[in-house]
Symmetry: C2
Subunit: 436 residues, 2 copies
């Protein structure tokens, strides 16, 4: 490897030490006889101060630099109150590793608000911006922490296919694939596979994968290719066991981000705190009452909360110190949710998690009794015959189970405090965007 | 959660302690007045001994059990030389949690060799077999360990799209997708995205995802939907830096499996040892010489090693205590591999890793100079105009970089000692298989 120290490891305490860094030329400031070269690597930026009097040859090389050249710089670290981060580098060697041949079309070193569409078109430049880079460093740290939690709690990671004959939920919002001489579809959710596996004894599992929705939405909350964190576990007593897993793993993840991604949060200006208190668990009816009583808002669809409703509920609970809240018991839900508890006519064990006013995950206890399951399918106009590969698993002993699917992109959007979900995705896909 | 202890946590040292387990009824053996109920959970099996004289009611319940019922059993643990694992449970309470309504069509408790196609058709039953379950427990542990290694070594996890306008390598082996009113393709590799990101400063990255190959192969080494572990890193001096990462991360993974998945390895009869010695790094020419000299084998294609050649090389090096070997420097390689080092006419910085006689990964140092890159594209009949989204990233400073893509399914196949790659995948996809 080329010799280098990560910039995040350099502190004012290293005053007087020799070091080598490598990265892109982020910014150049010529003060006449003194040239400030801000070097940016994956972990931060460091100011290199080239002085004509001290190192004339190096100064000349530095004067020939362009933005985004890749350089390797060796020198002595000097603590300095004037330097960003309190430390700068007095260079003794400067090597140009790779030259930029073009001038970037978008501002990398200045925080100029660029149009999101332009940013996504030029994502390779946009990612060089510290505030964009911070989103994806944060994303990596959050995902590492969440995955760790599940491994530490004896969940097994599984990997199920994205190509199938039919979607978990069917319908027009599937992407068809030409699969040899057959027609296949891209997965909307690993839901049915998760249940098959729990039924078959892989009884605590999680999966990180992509899901695909051929919807034409045009909102700031939807994309066509989604990153999902899916969880399923057996031997639950009820949906509260599932919510416990969701709550604890999310708290762990946020704590890790707060403790280990403060630099990224600062870069993003995101003020994040760990939701230490128990997440409130309110019923769907209570949620609608709060909306009606406090905000005079009645969501149009009797069976759902709308975007505005979710946002208002988020505000309501955030004011009480609860950024996350579970809404439990939705009417008219899909066949796999357990619905006939206590003769309820709602899927009383189905829940959504709202975080900062946005739906982050849906889950609940599932129906594990094949008689009730097939009856519910018929009631909902779903042909059990089309789901034999799924139902087969229910003909043998099935532990009571539940799970949820969490939208990773939405989680990152909220942790990073971004307006649009596409900002949380490196190369997002929507009806108009298949490139880059 | 339903109360239960994981069976792998029960040992003969727990003699005399009360505990509760839960799982599927794996096997029933009636000795007249004594009934052995072998209960299986995700982590192992435990023998429950129901005696008519001691607990007549419980004995009656036990007599009514069927294979694959889900039960919860409380009782006292008793060390016993006769019991598998040296410990068994004297039950005081037995609850049937969920009844099997059908008799399994394949043997779960006996090691009867079933046809692979039947096993995959009935994967939900096949996964209940301890030897199959062990494959996927091992897979989870291996993937957790590999991911850990990359996080610990300051790589960032990234997530790139599987839907795009064109494949990394183009050609007939792409799956077309109806994407709204456009045509899209499923990704064959995140190769180009990885390079764009390293160019843009995400300079040590990995990605776990799916790749899709519309080939009609029919071998025991290929499937249509592949799990890939992709790696890319900047600031390399040459391809040896990339091989170092591949070697160290693989050694770490195998060590973790040997230390933490011994139960799974035993179940599979896989004899795995940690490759502590440096992996040999031989040239393509040396590989062909060994094949010719030692085995009188000359692969048909002058520019490649064939399956038989890889297997023989595997044997050759395994005999010398090296299950893994790098073959370096392939002729006629793709445009993104660095090719013109020292005027070589081969891609002298491209490598394959063979593990136990099978190609596990391909990688190398990449070309990061845009002039040489576009020249090579033209030479290979690739239109640079079709790769603008990729080439754009090379117009600004690009650190020298390299990487590789490792086939996860193949790795698991080798670690678990399986004949066919499909055994290492929960729900594999091939030209004839889209379900379950």
């Amino acid at each position: 490897m080329l010799e280098r120290t990560y910039i995040e490891d350099v502190t004012p305490d290293d005053d007087g030490e020799d070091t080598t860094i490598a990265g892109h030329v982020h910014e150049l400031r010529d003060l006449g006889g003194i040239l400030f070269v801000i070097v940016r690597d994956a972990t931060g930026r460091l100011q290199v101060v080239a002085k004509e009097d001290d190192t004339p040859d190096l100064f000349e090389t530095a004067e020939g630099l362009s933005s985004e050249d890749v350089v390797q710089v060796t020198g002595t670290l000097e603590a300095s109150d004037q330097a960003p981060g309190g430390v700068e580098l007095a260079p003794t060697e400067l090597t140009v590793v790779s030259e930029a041949t073009d001038v970037p079309s978008i501002e990398i070193s200045k925080d100029v608000d660029a149009d999101l569409s332009t940013r996504l078109d030029e994502r390779h430049l946009d990612v060089r911006k510290p505030s964009t880079k911070a989103v994806f460093s944060l994303r990596s740290k959050a995902m590492g922490a969440m995955t760790d939690w599940f491994y530490d709690n004896r969940f097994e990671e599984v990997d199920t296919p994205e190509l199938s004959t039919a979607g978990a939920e069917g319908g027009a919002d599937l992407f068809p694939v030409v699969y040899y001489d057959k027609e296949a579809y891209l997965s909307q959710s690993p839901q049915l596979y998760k249940q098959i596996l729990v039924a078959s004894g892989v009884d605590r599992l999680f999966e990180v994968g992509h899901a695909f929705r051929a919807e034409d939405f045009g909102t700031s909350r939807h994309v066509s290719e989604i990153a999902m964190f899916d969880v399923e576990l057996g031997y639950v007593e009820d949906h509260h066991d599932v919510m416990d897993v969701q709550e604890e793993s999310l708290r762990h993840t946020i704590r890790h981000v707060v403790e280990h991604a403060q630099r990224e949060l600062d870069e993003l200006g995101s003020d994040l705190s760990v939701p230490e208190a128990d997440f409130p668990r309110i019923t769907f009816e209570e949620a609608r009452e709060i909306l009606a009583d406090e905000y005079d808002h009645v969501p149009e669809d009797d069976n759902d909360l709308d975007t505005k409703g979710e946002r208002l509920l988020g505000e309501y609970f955030e004011e009480q110190g609860h950024p996350a809240v579970f809404v439990v018991g939705y009417p008219d839900e899909k066949f796999y949710y357990r619905q006939d508890v206590d003769g309820d006519d709602v899927a009383s064990r189905k829940f959504d998690l709202l975080y900062r006013g946005q739906e982050l995950s849906s889950g609940g206890q599932r129906e594990h009794d094949i008689e009730r399951l097939t009856a519910k399918m018929r009631e909902q106009g779903v042909e059990p015959e089309n789901f034999e590969f799924y139902l087969d698993a229910f003909r043998y002993g099935v532990p009571p189970h539940g799970g949820y699917g969490l939208g990773i992109d939405r989680l990152i959007q909220q942790l990073a405090g971004l307006d649009n979900i596409k900002e949380a995705i490196l190369f997002p896909r929507d009806p108009d965007r298949l490139e880059p």
